[in-house]
Amino acid sequence: MSAQAKSFGARWLGALSANAAALTGYPASLQVADGELDQHAARFIAVVPDSASHFPRARQGQVGLAEGWALARAVHDAVAADEAMPDKRVIVAVIDVPGQAYGRTEEAYGIHQALAAAAQAYAKARQAGHPVIGLIVGKAMSGGFLAHGYQANRLIALSGDAVQVHAMGKQAAARITQRTVEGVEELARTITPMAYDIESYASLGLLFRQLAVTGDQAEDLSAVETVRRALSDALADIQAAPDEASQRDLSSRLQGNGREASVEVRRRLRVQWAG
């Protein structure tokens, strides 16, 4: 990284991995560090800004072509290394992504496939028995989040205005839905899934836990301790799931309130499935 201030993602990656040296062989926009969590080996991964990136559309921490494929490699290599191990290392996605890269080059060379490779790597890690935890320390936007973190067994989010989850930035969302930006903001106040703030997102029941810690507290030892404890709790919660299938799938996301229709659709589908 250049002289620019470190991103939340970079700062939390450093704090949680005890500032272990980042692994080499990855683009500067992808930081991978091996550390530990509760005496288990753990790999921490963050996408960070790189103002000198070869790809101009991916210099602010977006998940672009290079980040997508490198994420896939970072996760895939951990799975391959632990293949014969009974105790699979924990994988923690430290999430601070303003989105995917928007550009002509990106589309032309198949950015959707790069993000698919990243999402697949995380999903396969989870299905191979790696506990995967997504820690949202800043923005978790759209395709960036789908590629980096949304396949985790458990999701944890910090608090504060800088912590946001959404499918699209406000300007673009306004254009696509043929509204004004003010109109989008107005709706976001009343329609929970359209909101950008983390409290609204938490009310959808998708988080394992929301912490009273803000993104800029990565150098605050008690805040770091709070986050480490939550990661440990998430790990214990994954391992406490009743059977192997539910230790390795996303079913815990449907146990919260806030997505009643998602639950009801599945309940009725199950009734009709076998005929």
Binding site: Y102, R104, R175, L250, V265, L269, R270
Partner: protein, 288 residues
């Protein structure tokens, strides 16, 4: 092709989702799940005074294709741009999750996904995004047992988080009319500027994101005509194949090598993109 063949064609692109399903399944084998009479409508659109649809734009049907047990998930292009809301997304994710359970219990069902979608329905933003993550998870889980077949024919194309779902399929079938890309043209223009991407330049868009180009670069497996029989014939072949784990998903190294050769400051042109993929394929046999 002669004139009589042309006249016998029936367009797949022009069919509704439910009509597509009826054309693909063996006669009499279809059974729609959570059909429109279930009245499972979007809880979020109504709050915004937007007219709902009683199937939320997704048709789920079990049945057989040439005797193979399948579950088809067809997205209706004419409702809200084929966008994924909470209900429609849960219909697809839930059906795939049940297919995972069946496959694990020795009852394989092959999913066929008809992906006409702009991605997340922005009026249900985070519910759509969450459902798409669940669809991704189920596709990857299913591929341990069965092929997962994706079909993009147009008119909408396949964008957003659902283009990632397409990228996860073991077998992708497209027509020349299809487009496949992560970001919709208007969104790129909004985010990156019209010099980067002119959303009204249709020849440029199809030259880069169109079915022919995606096939030429190995990002989809099959290109076929917009004809019901042709599309069905490709699906018949695909559902009978094993999971081929195509190089476009698995060969990380080949793509990373390809990336190093890209000059991002030069506007991408279709022929140069093809040449770059071909060179890589010749070098490593990676993409075909």
């Amino acid at each position: 092709m002669n004139t009589s063949e042309l006249l016998q064609r029936q367009s797949f692109v022009e069919l509704s989702a439910r009509a597509r399903v009826a054309q693909l399944l063996d006669g009499g084998s279809g059974r729609e799940l959570l059909g429109p009479f279930e009245r499972l409508t979007s809880p979020w659109l109504a709050l915004q005074d937007i007219v709902t649809q009683s199937d939320d734009g997704v048709v789920i049907s079990r049945g057989t294709v040439d005797g193979v047990d399948v579950v088809i998930a067809a997205i209706e292009p004419a409702f809200q741009g084929g966008s994924m809301g909470e209900v429609g997304g849960a219909k697809i994710a839930g059906a795939l999750e049940l297919a995972v359970e069946d496959a694990a219990n020795g009852k394989p069902v092959v999913p066929v996904l008809l992906l006409e979608t702009g991605g997340v329905r922005l009026q249900e933003a985070n519910c759509g995004l969450a459902a798409i993550a669940e669809i991704h998870a189920a596709i990857v889980a299913l591929r341990a047992w069965v092929p997962v077949v994706g079909v993009v024919t147009g008119p909408v194309g396949c964008f957003g988080g659902m283009s990632i779902a397409a990228g996860l399929c073991s077998h992708l079938i497209v027509t020349r009319e299809a487009r496949l890309g992560l970001n919709g043209p208007q969104v790129i223009e909004q985010e990156a500027g019209i010099e980067e991407f002119d959303s009204r330049d249709r020849p440029m868009i199809w030259s880069l994101l169109g079915g022919q180009q995606r096939h030429a670069t190995g990002l989809v497996e099959d290109l076929c005509d917009d004809d019901v029989r042709a599309v069905r014939a490709r699906i018949v072949e695909a559902v009978q194949s094993g999971d081929t784990a195509p190089a476009r998903i698995e060969n990380i190294q080949a793509f990373e090598t390809l990336l190093a050769a890209i000059e991002p400051d030069v506007l991408a042109e279709a022929d140069k993109v093809r040449a770059a993929f071909e060179q890589q394929a010749n070098h490593a046999g990676a993409f075909s």
